[in-house]
Symmetry: C2
Subunit: 148 residues, 2 copies
Amino acid sequence: MKIEEEIKQQKFRSPQQKAVINTIYTANWIQGRLQETFKLFNITLQQYNILRILRGQHPNSISATEIKSRMLDKNSDVSRLLDRLLVKKIITKRTCPEDKRAADINLTEEGLELLRSIDKTQQQIDSILLLSEEEAVQLSELLDKCRG
Amino acid sequence: MKIEEEIKQQKFRSPQQKAVINTIYTANWIQGRLQETFKLFNITLQQYNILRILRGQHPNSISATEIKSRMLDKNSDVSRLLDRLLVKKIITKRTCPEDKRAADINLTEEGLELLRSIDKTQQQIDSILLLSEEEAVQLSELLDKCRG
DNA sequence: TAAATATATTTGTTTAAACAAGTATTTTAA
DNA sequence: TTAAAATACTTGTTTAAACAAATATATTTA
């Protein structure tokens, strides 16, 4: 369905405005699909985002600041997201000995296990977008370009 | 800057996965830019979204359900968003006489005035995306396509 | 027409985003 | 070398998303 039907708006000020609205709408749509998957594992999108970053480092630790710089939403409240993951025993946290301001964050064995279970559903996650490889590449190029 | 640099991730499972991540990242990026503008007027993106929809109907009223169906985020909590707009005296709300379950929502004169002020900044809003008209059209087509 | 179902909206709870302000270290620069 | 600035992180508040449940009214159907 075209965006004009999805939000019942026929006129846009410009193709650029329409693309802005479509990008936000589509991101919400994608996140809705992803949420359905992560809900099965009792984690949220933001929590998964952090786990994904931690795994990229594993078994090395990583600081909250570094996690934040790699997140999709640069405003995310990493401090409290980590608190929730700690309660779930998915991560560990300790003061970094070299810099006592910073914290060393690590995945626990339970966290790794969770990620392994999620992996098994990842094929579906990739096929959320009904685009060919070529179209997906083209979409990424346009998105990179529009951020300037 | 390319998405792989923005989030310091070099490898993706597929072009489709990269496009998913890029769409979410770019939507967050756009919303950050929009927020800067709306902050000057002391409203949030979601509140603006509702005002935009109300203006499309003005001077006719519209129900909360109908507003919800037109929003970019289909999960938005319209009931409480309307509460906040009521407190700001930007909208009015009364029980619909034909259907006492529903509410008739209208813009106030103050709400219209606010939208008029915001209008003056809209040229900037449109130029958030650094794309030509043709590229913007192409982006919208790809986004429509990827939702299937 | 009465009971079941559907619709419009509200309310409650947890998670998270946006923003500001605070604390404890570390770095820098006078 | 010590005061100022920067950095890493925490905490508090408001707004909002995600989800479930409740209430009131309207519609359908047996």
